[in-house]
Amino acid sequence: MTTYLIRRTGEAIVVVIGVMVLTFVMIHLVPGSAARATLGTRATAERIAVFNAANGLDRPLAAQFVTFVKQAAEGNFGTSYSLNQPVSTLLAQRLPRDAVLLGLSTLLALAVALPMGIFQAVRRGRVADHVFTVVSFVLYSMPDFFFALLLIAVFSVQLHLLPSEAPQAESVAGILADPRALVLPVVTLTLVSVAGFSRYMRSSAIGTLAQEYVQVARAKGLPERLVLRRHVLRNSLLPVITVLGLSAPGVVAGAVIAESVFNYPGMGLLFYQAATSKDYPIMLGSTLVVGVATVVGSLFADIAYSLLDPRIRYVDA
């Protein structure tokens, strides 16, 4: 397993470097250079030259890249010019809030999707399977924002049951203190992911059910309930872990939409506002953070996989 982990970590490092290169390239794609972006469009050539020299932008690209990597490693992503604060401060404020929102909704999504997928696999081709299939297809095919607004229209506007705006508290504790306001954003993100996860779990479980060892378990006289719990569940779960790691970008995309709809003060909203106001330091800083988080997430998923699958755990351990 050690070998596997070392190789996998090596790959992750390569990808993190790739993400940095990509982000760096995008900085230089910004029209009018970083100087204009920072100083505004009416800056004089003189001021730009001074700025470039001060920020090392007149140095060779390779040297600039090294500086960029160093700064990024120190958590220095520059200063937002619309909010006039260091990007790192802004991100540090918002990351915990996203952890709450995305963590809650992903856990809920798994809690719903995994049993649903197994249930569908067992009932394959029967009415229940078809009903759940239709539901997950419609959920999956609905634009996130439409779904979110629909929830608001029904539960806030019509029924007055839940607030349409997410908690605005600064701290995580403050957010958790207002669970009612958290319901709609969390439900939106949960249901959107449920569809994908349950589809995957269904096909994984169907594959496991066709394995000979399931038949062997039945031949022992094991009741079907135990066959599912002891032999089908764990084996079907393994491939889903990998998918979980790969689904991080999708979750982030959902967060951008959901946070804009519910005005949830997370990174998604920050990023969206930055995009509309062309606040490049924020955009690039959060891109880098999200990219690295995704790589690390999928590395963790693979580590979890290798811990749960003895075939990897015990290879030349």
Binding site: G18, L22, L149, S203, G207, V256, T294
Partner: protein, 309 residues
Amino acid sequence: MSTLEPIEPLEPLEPLDLPQPVDAPTVPRGSGRLWAEAFVRNRRALVGLGMVAVIAAFCFIGPLLYRTDQVTVQLDLADLPPGSGNPLGTDASGYDVLGRLMEGGRSSLELGFAVALTTTVIGTLYGAVAGYLGGIVDAVMMRVIDTFLAIPGIVLLLIMVSVFTPTLWGIILLLSLLSWLGAARLVRGEVLSLRTREFVQAARMMGGTGGRIVLRHLVPNAAGVIIVSGTFTIADSILTLSALSFLGLGLPPPHADWGTMLSAGLNSLYDGYWWLVYPPAAILIVTVVAFNLIGDAVHDALDVRLQRP
């Protein structure tokens, strides 16, 4: 170029077990026959295909039968509820909503297909080459994909759209740049398993070149996965464009597509103008469901583990 050595045919020694005449005249010929057979057996795919056909007819043939003015802004006719003359009412610019749905559908579908096509071609070639060559080349090519996949598509899109003013072709290009990654991964996985198959080794034994093996054997046999990824891409592109429109970074007016219409309609949801919301939402969702149905059905049909007698 050498010539053929004539060989003497020998008499067959044992009675032949002739194959059953399965090529009945009703079945289309050509390798499409395999697909046709697989499709007919698959009701889910048929339903999806039927839905797509109806929607396509609505968007492309509909305007010939139901003519509306989608060019002139008529503010005096704005936001009319459904009634005579306008079966689905009019929008804020006075355009007939039913006619607008046809027009918007055309660009939504065209966008979806265009993205799917470019994505499929690029992704297939990239994935097939990586999978066939393997080793270091494959490792490098895959890390490139991992890098792009690490950054959520919408994040890249928002950055690009905020830098460049979007046009239809620009958006198609951007969406293609983001979507080929998934296709390439899928095709590579398939090719990795295909290249160990004996018919690929047989082609090498005949002296077949790498290019020939990729194009004649690997890509046709990965056709199933390619179709799956293509149909999913159509659905995803339509959805992504609608999300961009909602975020206000979609295509500027007078361009119409279902996503733009829906986002615009949502602004007046609380005014009670339901005809600006539900019709585009419904047709958008139905279309995306239809493509996903096809993709999912083909995917299941290909997954040997999911086969049953």
